[in-house]
Structures are given as C-alpha cells and as structure tokens.
Amino acid sequence: METILQTLINGLLAAGVYALVASGLALAVGVVGIVNFAHGEFLMLGAFVSYFLFAAQGLDPLIALGVAAIAVFVAGAISYYGLIRPVLAAPELNQMLLTFGLSIALQNLALLLFGADTRVVSPPYQGSTISLLGLSFGVVPFASFVLSVALLGGLYWFLGRTRLGFAVRAVAQNRLAPGLLGIETQRIYLIAFGLSAALAGIAGVMLSVMLYASPTIGFAYTLKAFAIIVMAGLGNLRGVIPAAIVLAMAEAFVSTYVPGGGGWVEAVFFLVIFVSLTYRSWRFR
C-alpha cells in the first residue's frame, strides 16, 4: 500500500515538469504550426545556463530560473526569426527537417564545447527530503512541481485573460483573419515561439538540479513531450496536463513494479505514442 502511494506521488511530481515541457511544445505546434524537434535542445540550453551560473557565480537555481527563461526566450526568438520564419510557407517536410537539423546541430555543438560529461547543480538543499505520513519526497522535485503548476497556471491565465493571450489563440485558430483584424501575426508567432522555448528552458533549470545538465538530456525530453502532445492531440494545450500525468504515472509504475524496470522506463513513452496513434488511426479511418 505504501509503495503504491509512494509511486503515485513520484509520478505526480514528475508530471509537473513533463507538463511544463509539453505545454511549450504544444504552443509551438498549435500556434506556430511547427513540429519542433529542437524543443528539448532549448531545455538543454536552460540546464547549461543554470549550471554555468551556479559554477561561476554560485547563483541559486531559483534565481537562475529567471535568467535562463530570458536567455532561452531570446534564443527561441532568434531561431524563429532566422530559421523558422523563412520556412513557414514551405512544405511540412522541410519544416520538420529544419528543426531536426537545428536539434542535431545544437546537441552536437554542446557536445563539442562542453563534452559529454553530466554536470549537476548542487545547492545545499539538493539532498533534503520532506517526510509526510510515512512518505518521503525530495525538496527539489516538490519545489519544481509547485513551480511548474504555478507557471502553467500563469500560462493559462495569459492565454485566457489577457489581450495578447487572445491574440495568440486567434492566430492559432486562423492564419489569415487575425491579420485582417489588425493583429501583427509575425509578432505573435515570435512571442509564442519564444515562450515555448522559455518554458523548456525553465524546465531545464529544474532538471539541472534534479538530474544533471548534459548535451543529450534534451533529446529524451523532446520524445517525452511528443508522447504527451500526441496523446493530448497535437497542439491541444488543454489535454497536456492529463496526458503528462498519464505518462509520468506509467513511468513511475514501470520503474517500481517491472523487474529490471530502470531501463524499460525509456520505452514507456513509445508505448504511449504507439497506443494513442493506433487508437486515433482506427477511429478516424
């Protein structure tokens, strides 16, 4: 009984970061209409920003969060301006190839610059745990979860209550009409893509404490984020949170209950993708 509860909590805590990364990707897919294979690389950038700020300045990850969000927002905006914008009208194949190329380039550039080692940001509170009713969980995962929930709340507020948020949703629904109504479509795309990257970057900062920063860390999260948004329906922001919970729970249960589960966790996301695609494919036949 206790194991089940502990597994549920582990799953729930992991779901927060997953939802954060996947919401960013859903924004890129849903608003800009770009399947961004480089999404995880923005996460990797965030993780390295956090690491280098900590290593050089001893800056707490909580403060690095803000710096990384801005830095990665700018990186995302530059990528949008220089790379994505020219192919917005191109065939989908070209768009996907472009972001895939960006992913490969960034990942291997990081490999060349920083090497393949994993680097951990270890503030004093990294190892501390909270015990509650016989269950224990780390301070860092818990804080990340709370922060993720708050940020997601902020994102929903932004999209649902502000004028700019309305504009973003309008552009997502129709590419032409918002322009006629005086919304600067290009600016909205830029903001949405930057925001998408920034969300991944923030998740990267959290992961630099919870896991580590490494050149290849982003790729695994690209795949997990894809699994989540495929389950939710591409570009559907509302479905992201339940889908993230499903994926995180499934992973938590596999790692607890499947013998030798550690490695098989890496296969759960594929099962999720495969099952939801098969379901979708038979339903829309």
Binding site: P86, P91, M96, L97, I104, N108, L109, A116, E266
Partner: protein, 303 residues
Amino acid sequence: MILAGVLLLLALILPALPLGSWQAFALDTAQFAFLLSGLALSWDLLARTGQLSLAHGAFFGLGAYTAALTAPLIGTLPSLLAGAAVAAVGSFLLGLATLRLHGMYFAIATLAFSEVMRTFVLKAGFTGGSIGMIVAPPFDGRFPLGGYYLAVTVLGLCVLVSYLVSRSRFSYAMAAIRQGEPVARVLGVPVVRVKLLAFLLSSALAGLAGGVYGMKTLFLSPYDAFSLGRAVEALVIPIFGGLYTTTGPLVGGLLLVSLETWLRLRIGEGYLVVYGVLLILAILFLPRGLVGWLSRRRGGGHA
C-alpha cells in the same frame, strides 16, 4: 543514369587499381560510402511520398542485428534477406498505425521507434546488450573481397530500385501524395497503400544495407547500429544531394561520407554538428539539392 553506370563500373574495378598502401583505406571508405548511399537512396524512396522517416537508422540496425544473428544458421545471403524482411515487418507495423494520420504523427512515431529499438537491443539478452556482439565475416571469410562486392551489389540494387520506381507509374502516385494528399485521394490514388508500399520497400533496402554493414564492421553495438547519427546521415545525404532523384543521394553519399571520414579523424565525437548545419543550410538555401542546383545553373548558362 550514365553517371550511376560509370560509378558502378569504377566500384567494380576499384580493388584492381594499383593504389599501393592506400588500397585498404580506399576500399574501406568506399564500402561505407556505398552502404550509406544505399541507405540514403532507400530513405529518398519514402520521402517521395512526403513522409519524413527518422527511423531509417533503426531499420539499418534491425537488418544488421538480424543478419548477424542468423548468418551462422542459414548462411550469408539468406541472412541478409532475413534482415531486410525483419526491417520490413517493423516498418509495416509502424506504418499501419501511423500512415493514415497526418504526416507529423508519422515523423514523431518513427523517431520514437528508433529510440525504443535501441533500448530494446540494450536490454534484450540475445543481442549482447550494451557490450555488443561479434559478427562473422560474409561467406565465412572465404572471399576477402566478399563484403566489398556485397556492398557494391546492395548499392546497385538500391540505384536500380530507385531508378525503376522513378520511371514507373508508381512515382506519379507518390508525387501526387507528396504535393497534396486530399487531391491525390480525389484523383483515385490509394493513398495509404502507396505510402505503406513505399515504406516497406524503403525499409527493406535499409535493412539489407545494414546487414552488409554489420558484416563489414565485424562488430555491432546498440550505440553504433541504432545511433541517431545513422538516421541523420540517411536524410542529410539525399537532401544535400538532391531530393526525389537517383543521382542526388548517390552523389551526396559519396561526397558526404568522404567528408565524414575526414571529420571523424579531425574532431571525433560531435562531427554530426556539420550534418546538422548542412541540413539547415540545404533546407534554407539549396532546396533542390546539389544536383538540382547544378542542373539549373547549367540550364541557365544555355539560356
């Protein structure tokens, strides 16, 4: 096609050329170049339907592992065919679940598939896991050049299939799907069937090339056979060379693999950064690839 013929002829007589101490290196590089060009041609075959496969590295690896595992039991040639068959079965299952859906679902699923195949081979017992496995040379090592000629044969086969497909009615169906699926459907093209057939053919060729690759390196590990790098090569080569053509992947393959051999010596790990940048530049500035650019320039010169 003339170019392909000349290259093939050159490939056949390469072992007989008096290259002295360079010969072993030239043959090695050539063999890799042939196999990767074959892989690139197979990727291009599917790309003609507008589908982006990121799993060709996995089909390559599936072919390599299957051939390596079955070769001691059934002999070299049947084991290569078995490798192609297993890759084709994998693609069939993947295609059945995804090819009815929008193109981006397919790309995502193939990327996930290639990651999961690596996990599977790492965890499964009979593949040697992360340690890797030793592969027997082709034909029990009776012919020193056996592997080389197998690679030439595979490349020849890929060129032939690619050429025949581009000359057949099938290619019109593929182009129609690529340019607009709803329109193709209205025109009476069996969209899912054509995509599935292209996927099967493409992955079988990739598996075949993988099988020969394993017999060349004599050693397979999940990190090598199922690396994302293979999938990257499979798609950068045709895009750089020229999409939807037979000469494009061929020329691109020979050029890029030579470049890669040099880069690996210079910077080792991380050489893929060049592929990533090349991919971005080709998409932005060279949408018809090297071959398309050259032919347009030549055409412009006459006009």
